[in-house]
Structure formats: C-alpha cells, structure tokens
Symmetry: C2
Subunit: 212 residues, 2 copies
Amino acid sequence: MSREPRREQLLNAADRVIQREGPAASMNAIAAEAGITKPILYRHFGDRNGLIRALTERHTGGLLAAVRAALAEPLERRDRVEHVLDTYLAGIEARPQVYRLLTHPEPGDPTGAGNALAPALRQIAEEITRAVQSQVDLGADRDLLAEAWGRGITGMVLAAGDWWLESKPCSRTRMVQALADLLWGRLAAAADLPTAVLPAAPAEPTEANGAV
Amino acid sequence: MSREPRREQLLNAADRVIQREGPAASMNAIAAEAGITKPILYRHFGDRNGLIRALTERHTGGLLAAVRAALAEPLERRDRVEHVLDTYLAGIEARPQVYRLLTHPEPGDPTGAGNALAPALRQIAEEITRAVQSQVDLGADRDLLAEAWGRGITGMVLAAGDWWLESKPCSRTRMVQALADLLWGRLAAAADLPTAVLPAAPAEPTEANGAV
DNA sequence: ACCGGGGTGTTACCTCGGGTAACATCGTCG
DNA sequence: CGACGATGTTACCCGAGGTAACACCCCGGT
C-alpha cells in the first residue's frame, strides 16, 4: 500500500480522536484509535506538529476556500460581509472540536513568536487583507489599514465566535448581524445613554458623528 | 517571614525568567531563578496554573485598571475609544513577554472549553461589555450586542496588537487610528474601488475537500 | 530462487516537565 | 521546652513527546 492512502487513514483516526477528546489528545491515544502504535505516526508526520499541520491543512482547505469565495461574492458590501461572517460561523459550528484545533495556536512553541492567530487563521486574515486592498478605496493608508484590519477582523470574529459557540446566546444570523453592525460603525452611530455613571459629566449632547 | 512577602519574591523571580525566556519557562527554571527548588513553588501556588494566574493577576491589575479608567474617561466617544486602544497597546508594548503570558491561553488545558480569550482578556472584554451597556443606547438588543462586541473588540485588539507588536509596521498612534477607524465604520463608509477585478490568487492546490 | 527495498508493524527505551512524598531545619510563641 | 508554621531539601512518580532496534511481508529484478 503506497504512503498516501495510509496517511489518510491515520488522519481520519486522528480526526475521530480529536473530535471526541479535544485538541489535547495524546499521540498514544491517536495511535490506539488507528489500531497501531506511536512510531508509525512519527514515521508519517515527523512530530506532533506535523500531524496537527496535516490535519489542519485538510480542514483549512474547506473553510479557507469558503471564506475566499464569500469574499469574492458579487454582493453589496454589507451583504458580502455578512456572508463572510456567516460562512465562518457556520464552519466552526459544524465541527467545534476540529475548529478549536485550527484556531488555537500550538501550545508549547518555544519560539516566543507572537501567535495570537494560528496559521489557519492567519491565512484567513491575509485573505481579508487582500480583499480589502482590492475592493475598498482607503486612500494613502491603504496597505497599513488593510493589514491591520485583516488581523483585527479575524481576531474579532475568532473571539466572538468562540464565545458564541461556547454559550449559544442567539441564532447564527443574529450573531452575524451583531458583528456586522459592529463593523458598520453602529458603535459610533448610536446615541449616548442619558445617565452615565460618570460623576460630573457635563451634559454635552454628543450626537453621532458620521464615519471618518 | 510571613507568606506574602515570600510570594512576592517568588513572583518577581518568575517574572524575570519569563521576561527572559518567554512564557514556556519551566517550573524548574523559575525555581532556580529564585534560588530554590520546585516543591516550594508548588506549596505557594498549587500548580503551574496557579503560578501563572498569580502572575497575571499582578500585571492584569495595572492593565485592567488602566483600561477601566480609560473607559470611564469623560471624553467624546471617539476620543475615549482611542484612549482605550492606546492604553492597551501601550501596556503590551511595555513588556511583550509578560504580555504574551497574559494574553495567550494556557497551552494544554484538558477542559475543552473555548479559550480564545485568556482570563485576563476576558476581564477586559467584560469591562468593555459593561461600558457599552451603560454608555451606549443600543435599543432592545442591548445585552446581546454589548456582550458580543465586548468579546469581539477584545479579540480584534488582541490579534491586531499581536501583529503590530511582532512587526512594528507603524507608530502606536497610527495603529490606534487604524483600529478606531475600523470600529468607526470606515469599512462601510469607504467607496468601492473602481476596477473590482477579482484577482483570485490561488496559492497551491491545497486539496479542498470537506465543504465545511 | 534469491534478495533487497519500501512498506507494515512491534517493544523498549530515553528525556523532560509537571507534580508529590518524606524528611530536615529554623524561628517564634505559648 | 514543645508545637507550630514557615523554610528548605532529595528523591521519586507519571505521562507525553520522541527515538532506536528489530521483525514481517510483499513485490519486482536479476
């Protein structure tokens, strides 16, 4: 039997274990699930990171492609954004355990590099950056803004999505609305609440100042 | 010597090690830095998480208090938001290593709980949620929006801040502007770029299978 | 028929980090 | 003094990542 099919079987086993036990599953457990022992896993994937990487690349394909497609959808911008958000949330909703594996950076990376975003998410961030750069007119700051926003939006959706997944407080569509509203400047547009807890806030009617 | 001062000394040692070696520093290393051996650390902090928690609470105090104060500042809303962003970025800029410890969830937590946000950041998220709830008029969806936005904004700033810290692409004030602009709906307000030619830059045949 | 290579698999071991048990010491308070 | 509460130690356990050495099995080439 050539290497590839066997690899797939092993990945399937790993997938099952992680689906069941979460991303912290041990190599022993994965090997056992596959009906074999550790060294074979190491032969195929080098080390744990190799396994994880192979596993993520498998799933990332789908999510990343879906997000990329959503970003290129010929819709009104707001609708497109909602579509992207919905695509991501639907993706993580489908397989929470695997999704955690994708989204959370590898635990003990000795390289103190800043890993707020796991590789899979970094790809999504880059995708967003590219989309913004090519679709939105942001003037001279274009590049900086697109990059910062790509990361920022990804992180926003990651954190919010994580919370939503953990304690489903509302339907997916409502969540999409909430996030899209945030990106749409609703925070800026909303009125002040009258009685703020500020001790001596001079009542200056600060109405919504429009965007930029 | 009563417990507390000793605790402080140990925390100082841990701080130094982590400043130097990053968050993956071993208990042995920390003990050595303190001139003692492991069991003492465990007597004081129970387990590694206890140590980390104590360490984070120490630093979190400052950052959290600063953010909270910034959130309560009697400024125009946009200025307040910028002030909060600047406060956070200044905080992480001051001590990157410690900051990573604060912001990145403990590696191998067997409780498959969704931990996109480390405890320290969760507190900040709650702070933002409270601030939004008490200061902004969001109508009926108030609670849901405030919670979702609290998480989302925190995640956004985390991811963007991480990137900024890693590869300082611009000054802090410009970064603050970029993020504030994002929250202010500049994405919605900006014009379309004329030639919306979909570039479609596919990387490599990453074998997209599962349709998510 | 033989053999070698590339696949399969195994047992047994190493290292390292988190965590604990058992024991020894010092100072203070009753 | 004795007891207590802190200090500290050495030596160990366990589990997880990772490796070495060995064994089998099949298939194609000479």
